[in-house]
Amino acid sequence: MKLNELTIAEARKRLDAGDLTSTELTKACIAEIKNQNPTLNAFIEVYEDDALEQALRSDERHSRSECLGALDGVPLGLKDNLLNQGKEVTSGSNILKGHISAYDATAVRKLKGQGAVILGRTNMDEFAMGSSTEHSAYGPTKNPHDLERVPGGSSGGSAVAVAAKMALGALGSDTGGSIRQPAALCGTVGLKPTYGRISRSGLMAMASSLDQIGPFAKTAEDAALILEALQGPDSLDQTTSNHPLFVPEWKKDLSGVRIGLPRQAWGAGMHDEVRSEVMRGVEALKERGAEIKEVDLPYADEALAVYYVVMPCEVSANLARFDGMRYGLRVKDLPLFETYAKSRAKGFGPEARRRILLGTYALSRGYYDAYYLQAKRVQTLIRKAYEQAFTEVDMLVTPTAPNPAFRLGEKTTDPLTMYLEDVFTVGVNVAGLPAVSVPCGKADGMPVGMQLIGRHFDEAGILAAARIFEESD
């Protein structure tokens, strides 16, 4: 087995035992990046010298019997929307080409504090808007299982970095499925934690009330190790929660665990093989002791509609800061209005512009009540529907995405067909819940993901179930 194929937990044991150095591990990842990245385009920048320097420091700490945490010496990738002081970070957009981070995102600061090795920044749909990583200023990322197909998105680069064994883990962000859907399409584990679990300070905002940082990893156990490193309240993000911290609670079986299959999610509009593979996954959970029952979860279609109102409204506000004034691209030698309008038109790609216009419309006078306010009311109903479902069951299971990875270019002409790929994932963001996608068989020869959705702050429950599924699969 090559070193870059190790899980984080395996690497940790060998690093601690002294039969592996971080330098060896980091070199193995960099070699794999050099081998595969020219084809896959998962990393848009690799920090080879810095990574080897960080690895050396980790090895020096080990020789002094010091260890900063579970991630000390572990090579990881960062999505291109997480600030990393002194490094270029652009959210996959032309409007930020050349922009250098002035400070570290809290999540990045915590990784560094644990001694993690940062390999580079990964490709993404511009400002995290998309489900295919085709909307990037750096060109598309390819799915390692079939180069003609998309890896999903928006965190496609991070998903591919882990799936193709170029990194032991990676960070992404999930606003409507941007961690779970690419994890499913590439065959890795992807965790979207509860809203408020991880500080968003230094994450370039797309839709602030829905965004959440989370890990990609090879296993549920590895995802738990990264979550433990990143979590906790932060004075720089007032939406972080004071709820007790996540502690893994691994189980031997699922006896006493009630798992719900939302009737509305398992209806029409899903690839046959996706359905049969995820049903097989549900059977495996049942064999390990879980009680399976159908539950009612109304407003499944409405959740997608709420998302496509609330998200663009927040996008139009959050992206107003990119105006060519203090940073980013400026079209020069024009009066003020034209400087704004030409800089933004030149800097933003088609999907970002589309969502800005949509949000501008939904927030404009005369339409605000009908769109934004109504969407926020329906959001209350959706959250109540999940709360009701969680009185009957402990977690919910759905496919992560309705279809396996689609072909490059297949869904770029009609935005709505791309949006419909998010139908199983967005409800979780609208309700602020945690959810994990685990690999669950194949459809059309491509990976399928099973999504486990938990109660607020019950990452321990869904990760334990995910790990039991991994063991039985």
Partner: protein
């Protein structure tokens, strides 16, 4: 509901996006499709339902100014699209205050 070209142009002006005729046409079609989909929200009965709002944290940090370290200052300055010494250069605010539509 269909948007008129004038409405789309108005949104582009509000959003400070200088779009070509072709881009306006595409935007018009795309917005119609998405608005057609989200229209279903109008059918949900929400009488007496409060719009969702995230509860704010009860503990706030002190509102104090913190020093910016030299390295961070240098990076912020280096990110300015145009500068004059340590000052940010911008187009004149009073040259066309309300934009081209004024």
């Amino acid at each position: 509901m269909a948007l008129t070209r004038e409405q789309v142009q108005g949104l582009a002006d509000l959003a400070r996006l200088d779009l070509s005729e072709d881009e306006l046409k595409t935007a018009e079609q795309d917005l119609d499709k998405v608005l057609g989909y989200v229209e279903r929200l109008q059918e949900v009965e929400t009488q007496g339902v409060e719009p969702f709002a995230m509860p704010a944290r009860t503990a706030w940090r002190e509102d104090v100014s913190l020093p910016c370290d030299h390295a961070a200052c240098e990076i912020i300055l280096s990110n300015f699209p145009e500068r004059s010494g340590d000052l940010l250069k911008t187009p004149g605010v009073f040259e066309s205050p309300k934009g081209k539509k004024a």
